[in-house]
């Protein structure tokens, strides 16, 4: 069956499902404990998954297939990219449960059940090898998230939950029609087979647009990003962490798994659209983030800008771009999750997200200020943190395709530094003017335990990204080989004597070498 001789992926889906059902019948403290234990067990299983993952082995590992449903199968299996995203999920989940430990006091059993159910769906989306199974799990995420925002959210939660639900539903229903057509055309719903099936180029155009409608909303890309700030602001802290950390990655995963390899010609045809929307997103949402008064909204807009870097990297059609985009996804999952936790920490103390109500926190909350600083720097993309690796690679990849787009995208980094540092200055530096802020205690042991692992992961990814790049390298190679036939020609035409021999990955140094 697989390298472990037992269906570990099914176990990773069944266990939280079972725990979610049990949680519904438990009292508050028992539900918290059960959820924490379950998510920690899943994290352990995730480590087992990673440790036994055979790098350089077959493309699809831990494969399971049961013809359970007639028209489609219970087919699971992962490649390196899926595995890293599953790792991100199982890593963030215990932290989410911990973040809700004290702040959620009402209907705890239902809350924990919703989160565990969410975890089932997220792991399932990344592991599904049947296109209809993928769709069902992808869409099913709407229900628990709708409940999480609507029941435990902030003052304007009803509006936000409706907007989230209807926006994302409208985005993805047309994708279902496209999937039905694809399966009828190709005669199989098996994703690995579909990945190598060549759809007619004219059909690809429509299929690509149908998938784009769904993933662009989920991602979210400008101009269909407006549900995100509302959903983020109203969701409870842990809900925002899951939303930013994992749910947004489903859009990028969709581009990576479906749009690019299944419709390479159409992807090339619409490259202008992706580039245009992403360029607008990078500049526009960064500027919008700069003027936000609400911390969560600011981080939400910064997410849109970061996701635009992901789409730019993915549609660069080359190794650096795609690897960079995946690293940005992982890094953003950690960093934005951590930033939402940081907001949650002070929100729990003062019950406001208004930036002006804070100030001078580095005086009375030094530990908090230090960690917040680290995540701010990681969000900016400071070398040594995870943000740098991904953004640098994406931009290098993009530069090979279009230097003007790269120029615009790079301004996003500068603007990103602008709004993040501005945020940090207003929250952490300055004088302690408000008395209630002065009385705020520093991080508790629980909060340290939540933030420290993320900080460690961010540093690890920044200093030694090879651990995270190794599992995805082979799969990115397969993808690049698949889409190479449609790859756009770069706009840089180097006029060197024998430039053809330049090994891959060293182009960035080529310009540098010229000046010698």
């Amino acid at each position: 069956m697989n390298q472990l001789d037992f269906p570990i992926l099914s176990l990773m889906l069944g266990l939280p499902m079972l725990a979610a059902i049990i949680c519904l019948f438990l009292n508050a403290q028992a539900a918290r404990l059960l959820a924490l234990v379950t998510t920690l067990v899943l994290f352990a299983l995730g480590i087992v998954l990673w440790a036994n993952y055979d790098i350089g082995g077959p493309q699809w590992q831990y494969v399971e297939r049961i013809e359970l449903f007639g028209n489609f199968a219970w087919a699971l299996g992962i490649d390196g990219i899926s595995m890293m995203l599953i790792m991100l999920t199982v890593f963030l989940m215990p932290i989410c449960i911990g973040a809700s430990w004290e702040s959620i006091k009402e209907r705890v059993g239902e809350y924990m059940a919703a989160f565990l159910f969410m975890e089932v769906l997220m792991i399932g989306v990344f592991a599904a090898q049947d296109i209809f199974l993928f769709y069902i799990l992808f869409e099913a995420g709407l229900i628990p998230m709708y409940l999480i925002i609507g029941i435990w959210g902030g003052a304007n939660r009803i509006y936000a939950s409706y907007k989230f639900f209807l926006y994302t539903l409208l985005g993805s229903v047309v994708m279902l029609i496209a999937m039905l057509w694809m399966v009828q055309d190709a005669g199989t719903s098996d994703i690995p087979t579909l990945l190598n099936y060549d759809f007619a180029p004219e059909a690809q155009t429509w299929l690509w647009l149908a998938f784009f409608a769904s993933f662009a909303v989920k991602m979210p890309m400008w101009p269909v990003h407006t549900w995100l700030p509302d959903a983020h602001v109203q969701a409870p802290t842990a809900g925002s962490v899951i939303l930013a950390g994992v749910l947004l990655k489903m859009g990028g995963y969709g581009f990576l798994r479906f749009s690019l390899p299944m419709f390479p010609e159409a992807s090339e045809q619409f490259i202008w659209l992706i580039f245009a929307l992403s360029m607008v997103a990078v500049v526009y949402t960064s500027l919008v983030a700069l003027v936000q008064q609400d911390m969560k909204k600011l981080i939400a807009y910064s997410s849109v800008a970061h996701m635009a870097i992901v789409t730019l990297g993915l549609f660069a059609f080359n190794r650096q771009g795609i690897e960079g985009a995946i690293i940005v996804m992982l890094s953003h999952g950690l960093v934005s999750g951590a930033l939402f936790l940081c907001v949650g920490v002070i929100y729990d103390r003062l019950h406001t997200r208004e930036i002006d109500r804070y100030g001078g926190l580095s005086i009375n909350m030094p530990k908090y200020a230090l960690l917040f600083m680290l995540f701010t720097m990681a969000s900016i993309g400071l070398p040594g943190t995870s943000g740098f690796v991904g953004e640098f690679l994406s931009l290098v990849g993009l530069y090979k395709v279009n230097s003007w787009v790269t120029l615009v995208a790079t301004t996003g980094i500068i603007l990103g530094a602008g709004y993040m540092l501005y945020l940090y200055r207003r929250v952490a530096f300055g004088e302690l003017v408000h008395d209630d802020v002065k009385a705020m205690p520093d991080l508790s042991a629980r909060e340290m335990a939540l933030l420290a692992p993320i900080a460690a992961a961010v540093m690890w990814m920044g200093v030694y990204p090879e651990s995270f790049m190794a599992p995805i390298r082979g799969d990115v190679g397969t993808l690049v080989a698949r889409i190479d036939r449609a790859a756009p020609e770069g706009d840089a035409h180097l006029k060197m004597g024998q430039a053809t021999a330049a090994p891959k990955g060293h182009e960035a140094e080529a310009g540098h070498g010229e000046s010698h």
Partner: protein
């Protein structure tokens, strides 16, 4: 013609008719206190008929079906499958009724008897291969239904519902009859197969009007837009168990009947009926969704929801393929479970004095006072909206799959995009149940039968329902194949 065979083929109807008549006599002499006994016997009769219907469906010696009474009635897999579904819905409507009527002291033995007669009519509808059998079955069902709607005689709303249903239903029957007479005049026969053989090529105005009028009459019975106006009023006014019955069994029967008329009688006129069905389907989806948004009464809301679902069902018919019909049958199974489940939930909405509540606002915060009922309600709502992983999604999946396979991509895209409008009011109900502060109006009841049925239906439309696909899919496929 072999009478023995004809009688065997019609056994399900014969059992029900005979038991209905006997029970009517028992009721006449036994009076109100015999109501309980008659209900039990009626359920037994329905089980007996179900046994024969399932025998016809599963026994390979009946695989190809057969005509009875000189081509007036046809026993085949399609009819038997629809009957099983109808009988199931009728049984549930009988089981849930006594408690509802007992609380208001209006339970009468006529209720089970009328349900039996309505069921006989429905059995004839789905087996009819002749316009006259069709009409007789339809009227037998409709007349029983008019009386059922107004069964609480001293309740103004119930009487009003019955009267409205009767007046508009008669109008529809008139249209249907006029259409049948036109078709008969031009085809020279009332038999579906002769009509199909005669009405070929381009239709002249006369038979065209006939076809349109027949379809209009049938659209009334399935409450499809633009002949849906009676539905919200009747659903709201009729007693809730009766509404549950109306929304499930007759709907299955009328849809199966429409399918048979269109495929068997007008099968050679695809271009004529297809555009009508496409329009009716999309109009039902959109109007069912938009009109439901403003509703404050849960029964009216569910009425619009049923209009909306009929629209989706008709997409399978618009495809006009065996795959489409099989998708419709599967959808109907899920639809019956969702509809019965939600109406039983509505029946459980009672205040401390046992008075039934119907306003949406009384549902506020139900999740905190009755978490089990609230969860079931939410499951039915998400399922009716077709949100995966609930099983209601699968019905929509199948009909859209059939439409895509038949090359009707624009229909599929518009239909599925319009389903998002519908999602709005379904999640509004969930919002009221889960997000709003408790109104505390709905009392705990502890009705074991009702709760058990709700649990059963909720389980059927939960993700566990997907496990039934390998069992049900071949059956619906064979049943649909019987028409082609």
């Amino acid at each position: 013609m072999d009478y023995r065979l004809s009688l065997i083929f019609t056994l399900p109807e014969i059992i029900l008719s005979v038991s209905g008549m006997i029970l009517l006599l028992v009721a006449a002499w036994g009076g109100v206190k015999s109501a309980r006994l008659i209900s039990i016997l009626a359920v037994a009769a329905l089980f007996g008929s179900s046994a024969y219907a399932s025998e016809f469906l599963t026994n390979p010696s009946f695989e190809f079906g057969g005509d009875a009474f000189y081509g007036l009635y046809r026993m085949d897999g399609f009819g038997s499958f629809s009957k099983l579904l109808i009988y199931f819905a009728a049984i549930v409507s009988l089981i849930i009724a006594p408690r509802f009527f007992k609380d208001s002291g209006t339970y009468r033995p006529e209720y089970p008897v009328l349900i039996l007669f309505a069921t006989v009519g429905m059995g004839m509808m789905v087996s009819a291969v002749d316009m006259l059998t069709l009409y007789i079955g339809l009227e037998l069902n409709s007349l029983s239904a008019y009386v059922l709607a107004s069964i609480i005689r001293n309740d103004v709303r119930s009487s009003e519902a019955g009267l409205k249903y009767f007046v508009l239903g008669s109008l529809a029957s008139g249209m249907l009859l006029f259409g049948i007479s036109l078709v008969y005049g031009f085809a020279g026969s009332t038999s579906f197969s002769v009509i199909a053989d005669t009405l070929t090529g381009d239709l002249s105005t006369g038979p065209l009007i006939g076809v349109v009028l027949v379809l209009a009459g049938l659209a009334f019975k399935i409450s499809a837009v633009p002949f849906h106006m009676w539905t919200p009023d009747v659903y709201e006014g009729a007693p809730t168990p009766v509404t549950a019955f109306f929304a499930s069994a007759p709907k299955v029967a009328a849809i199966a009947l429409t399918v048979r008329v269109i495929i068997d009688a007008f099968g050679s006129q695809t271009s004529t009926w297809q555009q009508i069905i496409v329009f009716v389907a999309l109009a039902s989806i959109v109007l069912g969704a938009v009109a439901a948004i403003g509703q404050q009464n849960i029964k009216r809301l569910l009425a619009y929801s049923s209009i909306n679902n009929v629209g989706f069902l008709l997409i399978g018919l618009a495809a006009g393929t065996a795959q489409g019909i099989s998708a419709m049958l599967f959808y109907l199974v899920i639809y019956v479970a969702m509809t019965l489940g939600s109406f039983i939930c509505v029946m459980e909405m009672r205040d401390v004095e046992g008075k039934p509540l119907e306003s949406l606002s009384s549902l506020a915060g139900l999740s905190q006072t009755r978490p089990g009922l609230a969860a079931a309600f939410a499951v039915f709502m998400f399922s009716l909206a077709g949100i995966p992983p609930l099983f209601g999604f699968w019905g929509k999946f199948l009909v859209f799959d059939a439409a895509v396979a038949a090359g009707m991509l624009p229909l599929a895209v518009i239909g599925i995009a319009a389903s998002v409008i519908g999602a709005f009011y379904y999640i509004k109900v969930v919002k009221i149940i889960y997000f709003d502060d408790p109104a505390g109006q709905i009392a705990k009841t502890g009705h074991k039968t009702e709760n058990g049925l709700i649990g059963l239906m909720a389980l059927a439309v939960s993700p566990l329902g997907y496990l039934t696909i390998p069992l049900l899919a071949p059956v619906t496929a064979t049943a649909a194949q019987a028409l082609f």
